[in-house]
Structure formats: structure tokens, C-alpha cells
């Protein structure tokens, strides 16, 4: 019945990771989503850099109009330009993260997965690991390419970035980390909700709609608390991970997280959602 030696074949975490890697790379949706992310992040960085008014961020001098919103330090401008694409990429990554899980539920693949890995959680951990590493590598590479493209363009327009500024590079790591954790949060939401439409709606709602609601309430009530709650939303906390020299603190009742606190808060979201998802997966019938 078999000519191939199978005696040493057994379930291992390394094998499950390899399996999840095969699964991730063998779907077209993966390829398209990452391609969009790469193009968006690199393209927007270059585009925004070339669209910037000359001398806009050169030394704090406000331009004729609108330029007042731009940061005063050239490196801050450079970082801002390099991470413009994150706003869009986060939507794609959230969708892909949800799909990685709900695609299996929707098609019934999850039953094959759990029949092969009956303890279930290792399969999910491997999935998160593979998706997390790939997302981090892809987004970080795009951010770096975008930053390297934007720097000479800015330089030619009177804003002189310092390529050796480690705080900018650290912030780019933070941006890739934000996108990665957001993707993992979307995966966990996928585990909780299981339907593709529901999971995507929830993940995007959390990223897009929730901050708008809180800032709306803040401007309507003139209260501080909605703004402070907003700081703890995934996008609010995550945004601090790639802010320029993010310092935290409380001033006039408004709370600001520093970069590491932002990371902790976002990681907290992931951990809570992943634990809830893991418990449900263990309990529910597949």
C-alpha cells in the first residue's frame, strides 16, 4: 500500500508551522493582499514626498498655508511621509488576518486542520507565528524601501532627513510591529466570529469606526475621557508605536502613551482576544 517509509512520521510543532507556511503561501488572497500592502506603502511614501511643498518642513518656518500642520524637524517629516501608507495598509492587513482564519471555517478546511492537529491550539499558534513573521517582514521591507525612496526626494525639496537617525528606523520597526499585531488581533477576532464578513466588519470597525466615534463624542461633549479612551484603542495605541520620538504623559487631563506603552496596550488587546478565541476553539465543535 505504501512504498514510502512513514514510521518516523509524527505530529510536531515544527511540522505544523511548515504546514501553515504552505497554507499561507498557496492562496492567491495572500499574494494579492501583500502586493497591495507593498505597493501602497512604497508608492504613497514616494508620492507624498514629491507632493510636499518645497521647504515645508525645513526648519519650522510655516509655509503660506496648511503647512503649519507639518512637523518642525526634518526627520519627523521624513517619518510621517514614510508611514503614510500604514493608514491604508492596516485595513488590508486586518482583512487578511481575519481571512487567514475565517477562510478555513468558511470552506470547512478547519476540520482537516483539526483532524491533523487534534489539540487545536498548536495549529492556531503556528498560524499566528507564520502570519506574524511574514507580515512583519513584508511591511518592514516596504517601509524601509518607502523611507529610502522618500529621503532623496525630500532632500531635493529642501527637507534634509538624517539617514542615520535611529529614532526614525525604530519607529519604522514600530510601524511594522503595529501592522503585525493588528493582523494577529484580526486573526483572533476571526476565531471568535468565524464568519468572514462578520470578522472583517468587526476588525475594520475597531480600527476605523471606533476612533471616529470617540473623537466625535469628545468634540460634542468637550469631555476628556472619550479622547483618553481612544488612546487605548488598537489604532490609537498602535499609532504611538510609529510616532516620532513618542513621549508619554498627562497634560490638561489628556493622556498620551509613549511608544512602549502603545505596544503594551496593543499587545494586551491581542492577548485578551487570543485567549478568548483559544478557549472558544477548544470548547466549540469544529
Amino acid at each position: 500500500m505504501t512504498a514510502v517509509e512513514l514510521k518516523d512520521a509524527r505530529l510536531s510543532f515544527a511540522g505544523v508551522v511548515r504546514s501553515e507556511w504552505i497554507k499561507l503561501r498557496s492562496l492567491r488572497s495572500t499574494f494579492w493582499c501583500y502586493l497591495i500592502v507593498v505597493l501602497l506603502m512604497i508608492g504613497l511614501a514616494a508620492l507624498v514626498a514629491s507632493a510636499l511643498p518645497t521647504d515645508a518642513g525645513a526648519g519650522g518656518a510655516a509655509g503660506p498655508r496648511g503647512a503649519a500642520a507639518l512637523p518642525t524637524k526634518p526627520d519627523a517629516t521624513w517619518l510621517l511621509v514614510s508611514t503614510v501608507g500604514v493608514t491604508f495598509a492596516q485595513l488590508v492587513i486586518a482583512v487578511l488576518g481575519a481571512l487567514v482564519v475565517t477562510g478555513e471555517y468558511g470552506t470547512g478546511m478547519i476540520r482537516s486542520t483539526f483532524a491533523a492537529v487534534p489539540t487545536r491550539l498548536p495549529a492556531l499558534a503556528a498560524k499566528a507565528l507564520v502570519f506574524g513573521v511574514v507580515t512583519f517582514v513584508v511591511t518592514f521591507a516596504s517601509l524601509v524601501v518607502g523611507a529610502l525612496l522618500a529621503a532623496p526626494i525630500l532632500d531635493g525639496r529642501g527637507t534634509h532627513p538624517d539617514l542615520g537617525d535611529s529614532s526614525v528606523w525604530l519607529a519604522l520597526v514600530g510601524a511594522a510591529g503595529y501592522l503585525t499585531l493588528l493582523g494577529i488581533l484580526a486573526m483572533a477576532i476571526g476565531l471568535l466570529i468565524r464568519s468572514t464578513a462578520g470578522a472583517i466588519a468587526t476588525a475594520l470597525g475597531l480600527v476605523l469606526v471606533a476612533p471616529i466615534i470617540f473623537s466625535l463624542v469628545a468634540s460634542l461633549t468637550q469631555a476628556d475621557w472619550p479622547r483618553n479612551v481612544g488612546a487605548f484603542l488598537p489604532s490609537g495605541a498602535g499609532g504611538r508605536m510609529y510616532a516620532f520620538e513618542p513621549t508619554g504623559g498627562v497634560s490638561h487631563g489628556i493622556l498620551t502613551l509613549d511608544g512602549w506603552q502603545g505596544l503594551l496596550v496593543l499587545a494586551g488587546w491581542c492577548v485578551v482576544a487570543a485567549i478568548a478565541g483559544g478557549i472558544l476553539v477548544k470548547r466549540r465543535d469544529a
Binding site: 500500500m1 505504501t2 512504498a3 514510502v4 512513514l6 518516523d8 512520521a9 509524527r10 505530529l11 510536531s12 511540522g15 505544523v16 511548515r18 504546514s19 501553515e20 504552505i22 497554507k23 498557496s26 492562496l27 492567491r28 488572497s29 477562510g103 478555513e104 470552506t107 470547512g108 478546511m109 478547519i110 476540520r111 482537516s112 483539526f114 483532524a115 491533523a116 492537529v117 487534534p118 489539540t119 495549529a123 470548547r283 465543535d285 469544529a286
Partner: protein, 305 residues
């Protein structure tokens, strides 16, 4: 070997599997027969731990499925052909499953060849016909060369050639001492494939016996008795609890008594027999008789009222 003890599964207040106990033995093809909705698929999902029993337990080779060190090596399972991501190619699907257990590519190629999927292996599963999907599901079940094979409706959607292929494959695997557990709602298919049959109706085991015994259970199974002494013997048979008709002068058709009982009675009564032969008794009759009260959804049930 599969052993279920007091296995029960309720979804809400609907009982899908109701306190069933059975054994599926190695070296045999065991058929799992029952009308739609009888709980066959649920039972199979319970065996491989996809559903959690409400009470009771089921083991494979003595362990719970989730405790196996190499589940694919011990149990191969085809639950339904749709347990595959439609966007992936058949080959990648099998490679991904194989990778979990460190099963090499060579074995993946082998099961692809064995199930006749070579020409479509690099096509995405979304475009597969039902039959090809079944073959892929069977290929996945065979990946780990398992000692137990659980196939839920394996011939569903297969062409006649495929049906014969599944029959021969399962018979062959059983002859190697493996445990084969097949479900079907087609009794004719089971009659040709299975050695042993477990009949499920409304979540309960209503029969668990070798095929021959199940066939003999057919109510209305008659025994033809040819004897020159037909009138006298008809009276004795009736007294012994049989129902006797008299289609020809020397021929009796007896129901309610099995052939061995009739033979013994003839010896006691010193009646000469020219023929003693069970007739009819197809598995189909037996199955219909067994399940007539257990069918979940009767065709035209509403209209008939």
C-alpha cells in the same frame, strides 16, 4: 479498533447521537448504515474529536483521538469532501496536511497517483467535481497510511468505476488487518462491501451484526419448504409460531421461523423434506424493515395526513 461507550451528543435539545456503544474491529469492513439524519456523521466527527461528546467516550486503538502522537498515522478520515480550502490546489492541500506530521512529498505523490488525481493535482479545488473532491478526501485520509480508516459516504458522487475502486480499496485495506469504518445510506453498496454492519436510526444503534445476520433480519424473509407431507407440516409450523402460506401443492412458504428451526422441527416430526431454502431477505429489505420507524424525514409525510 474503534470503541464507543455510551456515546451521546446533543445539540441544544436535539439528540443527534443517543447513548450508543459499539466496536469496530480490525480486519473487517464495517458498514455504518442509516437514513439521513440518523447521526452517522456526528458519530464519525465524535470519533476524531471534531465534536465533543455530551457524555460517554470513544477511543481509537485504545486512546482518545486527541491524545494520539501521530493522528494521521493511526486514523485516516474522510468526513466530507468539502473539508478543503477551495482556493488551494489539491497538491498544496495534501502537502500542507502531510507537513504537520513530517510526511514527505513522495508520499503525497503516491496518494495522488493512488486516487487517480495526477491530472488535476495542480488545479484549485474550487473547480473540482463532487467525485474529484471525494478522491481528494480519500487521498488525504490515506496520507499517513493509517491503521484505521473512517470514510463518511465515500462513494457519494463517484461514478460507477469510482464506486468499484472504493469497494476494492477498502476490501484490500481490510485484508491487511486495518479497521475500516464506512458510512452510507445505500444498503446495496454496503451489501457488496461490508463484512459487518451497524445500523443507526435516530441516534441509536438498532442493529450491530454481520451482514448475513442483518439480511436474515428482514421481516418477511421467507423460507421455502418442499415436502410431500405439506398439510401436516404446515399445521406443526403454525403451532411453532410460523406463518405459512401454500403457494403450490407441495410447497410451503414460511415466515417467522428461520431455516434451522424449520429443519429441526421437521426432524422431530419425522417429515421428509425435499427442499429447505431461505428466499429473498435482501439487505435492502432488512434495512427498510429496521429503519421504517426510525426515518427522520418521511417523504410526503405532510401530504399524507
Amino acid at each position: 479498533m474503534i470503541e464507543a461507550v455510551g456515546l451521546t451528543k446533543r445539540y441544544g435539545n436535539k439528540t443527534a447521537v443517543d447513548d450508543i456503544s459499539f466496536e469496530v474491529k480490525p480486519g473487517l469492513v464495517t458498514g455504518f448504515l442509516g437514513p439521513n439524519g440518523a447521526g452517522k456523521s456526528t458519530t464519525m466527527r465524535l470519533i476524531v474529536g471534531l465534536d465533543r461528546p455530551t457524555s460517554g467516550s470513544v477511543t481509537v486503538n485504545g486512546s482518545r483521538y486527541a491524545e494520539l502522537k501521530a493522528p494521521l498515522r493511526e486514523v485516516g478520515v474522510l468526513l466530507d469532501a468539502k473539508a478543503v480550502h477551495t482556493g488551494r490546489t489539491a497538491e498544496n492541500h495534501l502537502l500542507a496536511l502531510a507537513a504537520t506530521h513530517g510526511i514527505r512529498r513522495k508520499r503525497v505523490d503516491e496518494v495522488i497517483a493512488l486516487t487517480g488525481l495526477e491530472s488535476v493535482a495542480r488545479r484549485r479545488v474550487g473547480g473540482f467535481s463532487l467525485g474529484m473532491g471525494q478522491r481528494l478526501g480519500i487521498a488525504a485520509a490515506l496520507l499517513g497510511d493509517p491503521s484505521i480508516l473512517i470514510l463518511d459516504e465515500p462513494v457519494n458522487g463517484l461514478d460507477p468505476e469510482g464506486v468499484i475502486w472504493v469497494r476494492e480499496l477498502t476490501r484490500h485495506l481490510a485484508s491487511q488487518g486495518r479497521t475500516i469504518f464506512l458510512s452510507s445510506h445505500l444498503m446495496t453498496e454496503m451489501a457488496q462491501t461490508a463484512d459487518h454492519i451497524i445500523v443507526l436510526g435516530r441516534g441509536r444503534v438498532i442493529a450491530d451484526a454481520p451482514v448475513a445476520t442483518i439480511e436474515a433480519m428482514a421481516t418477511g424473509t421467507a423460507v421455502h419448504v418442499r415436502t410431500p407431507d405439506s398439510d401436516r407440516f404446515a399445521a406443526s409450523l403454525t403451532k411453532a409460531g410460523g406463518t405459512v402460506t401454500h403457494p403450490e401443492p407441495e410447497l410451503l412458504e414460511v415466515t417467522g421461523l428461520a431455516a434451522p428451526q424449520i429443519g429441526e422441527l421437521a426432524a422431530q416430526e419425522r417429515v421428509v423434506l425435499h427442499e429447505l431454502s431461505p428466499v429473498g431477505g435482501s439487505l435492502e429489505d432488512a434495512y427498510l424493515a429496521l429503519t421504517q420507524d426510525e426515518v427522520e424525514y418521511h417523504a410526503g409525510g405532510e401530504a399524507g395526513r
